[in-house]
Amino acid sequence: MNDLTLMRKNLWRKPVRTTLLLISIMIAFLLFGVLVSFNVAITDVRTAPNRMVTLSKINFTESLPIAYYDRVLHTDGVLAATHMNWFGGYYQDPRRGFLAVFAVDPDSYLRVYRDDLHLTPQARETFLHERTALLVPRNIAERYGWRVGQHIPINSNIFTNGTNGGHVWDFTVAGIFETPDGNSQANSVLIRYDYFNDTITFGKDRIGWISFLTTSATVNDRVAHAIDARFANSQDETSTQDAAAFNRSFAAQLGNIALVVTLVVGAAFAAILLIVGTTMALAVRERTKEVGVLKTLGFSSGRVLRMVLGESMLLSLLGAALGLLAAAGVLYIFSRINGGGGGGGGLHLYPSVVGVSAAIALALGLVTGLLPALSAYRMNIIEALGRR
């Protein structure tokens, strides 16, 4: 019988108490896992450092003349550029959620987002040549049950289709693509700009924004300056920034999510720190006599200390593991429900969250076990055996 067995037996001698402690630890890590993953998903959209966007200086919802695209493309330091329009799309019923549908120029889009979309060569060819082609990320295709080759009507809550007078356009699914983890295109449904521009009744020959790559991130500032200076004092002034900065400021519009997450998670951990800490202290106090017996049998004080600390570590690691498991389940359910434009697409438990959780669990075990362990360490045999 080694010390680990003894720790395990100690931990489970009061199964109700241990189960209750595990539940409360589990809950703190469940909240941590879910909330921090949400925050990461919203704020930490991964983009290449040399990816930039040119938007209207007034606001990103204002459009720009299409002529700007060529000028940006031919600016010194720009490697590749493409333009995109927000379509305001939804499928059948807007109450089922909105789709992030973008009208793009296929050729240049597939060049700028070459590393972002995993696409079959056939899907690529179809999107390049079929006017009504539609590209869908896997999570959305699964959510709506769409298959390649299927005809899909998509509504716009902004534009009117000049060919039928309504707000609906017909598309054919050209391909279903996958994106790397946390990619900016994870929820993008793509349609062709030429089809869009030829059929809309207003806003023709305008583009939403220009997305481009610079030759290297070191020239970003210079390129941004050159582009914005070029359009200064025109009807449509621009604001050029790197895509990561734009994503961050967009996420900040929702509110200070990071602060709210910190406060809630902090409250949860403060609560379990108190609960687990006081209960561990009680557990060791109850075992005073046993500690006396162990020491009488020749267990060193150091060994007794390690055993109490080990027990609290075991408890908090076990609770953390259960909590993260629950968090992964909850996040999976959320990403299923919210697969559409809500940004819940690629939501899952991030490895970084698991790493930080492990560190917190160790710290929690240490802090809650330290005082009881020290009191066991200092306990003197005569007193321990005599005390009731």
Binding site: I58, Q253, V264, A268, A271
Partner: protein
Amino acid sequence: MASLFKQVGAVTSMNVRSIPQRAAMSIASIVAVALAISVLLFFLALSHGLSQTVEGSGSNDVAIVLRDGAGAELNSVVTRDQLNIIAQAPGVVHRGQTPMVSGELLVIVDGKKRSTNTNANMPFRGIGPEGLALRHNVHIVQGRMFRPGTNEIVVGAGLLREFSGFEFGRTIRLRGTTWQVVGVFEAPGTVFDSELWADVAVTQSLFNRPNVFQTMRVQMTSPAAVQSLKRFVHDDPRLQLQVLSEREYYAQQASQSTNGFTIIAWFLGVVMAIGALAGALNTMYASVAARSAEIATLRIIGFSGYAAFFGTMVEALMLSALGGVLGLVIAFIAFNGRTTSTLSSGFTQLVFKFELSPGIVISAVVVAIIIGVFGGFLPGIRAARVRPQLELAAQ
């Protein structure tokens, strides 16, 4: 029966007076309940404050006209022809010869959020000459109203508190034109308090949307007249439009904005309450264990098991009630009445206050009581089942 009450009273007062002996665990469980309650209150107050602001914006006798199926202002289109037809509808209030209608155009411009210094979407609303008169409870508190036909802006006081870039007297360049902020208006507790207003005709021409409105607001003689305007529009094939009273419109917008926050409130609140419950159960089991000799003695001298049960129950309820009260105190001090802003369903920033309501306070109290009842029940049963002889022999 009377003796049972007496017994319960005696045991309870003994329990409560002995709480200080178990101070650490009792405090831990009070704090855990308090934290769970304050997280619940935080999100409920946020959701309630947001919904009060949006709902408080509409009146019953003003009709809002949108494109059929648009759902929100930003997606709507109303043409000048349609506007003119509706202005002639029965039930529209006239001031002298002019019908009190306002064709409006909402565009989004960037402001800077003061707390983070990042760009944020500001609603920039072009309103017709009757636009101000159509909104009750709006008044200019600094400067004056914009003059029709000029590039002048008035700004809501709420927007100014949270966002910079539109201070009184400032000039702003938009679309190659200079605009001046000539006034500040107050529209307390409404969405308008976080808007910028300018002349609609100027807005249309400078934002390149000639003769296009998004919405139209119409002052009707009575709430009933809003209903007859609905029929009027429905019966005219030229008008593929939707008519709502302003109140109906903002009630819809409010539920869209706040449903998410209410779900978050209850998800986090319930999850944290379960954690606090686990803590409370532990505390109460420990309390029963610590008092087992005392309970055994009481049983031998004739106290019933019920007394032991209720004594434990009352102790648990007291701890969770204290936690609930502490949670409410935290809520009132830390965030009730504070101003904040978020992206509303209209895709623009909306400034509002955290607001606790009697209903919210009651839900918090109920949650605390539920934690107490569950936290006391099983330990109470264990207390009632203490077997005196065995217990005392073991000591």
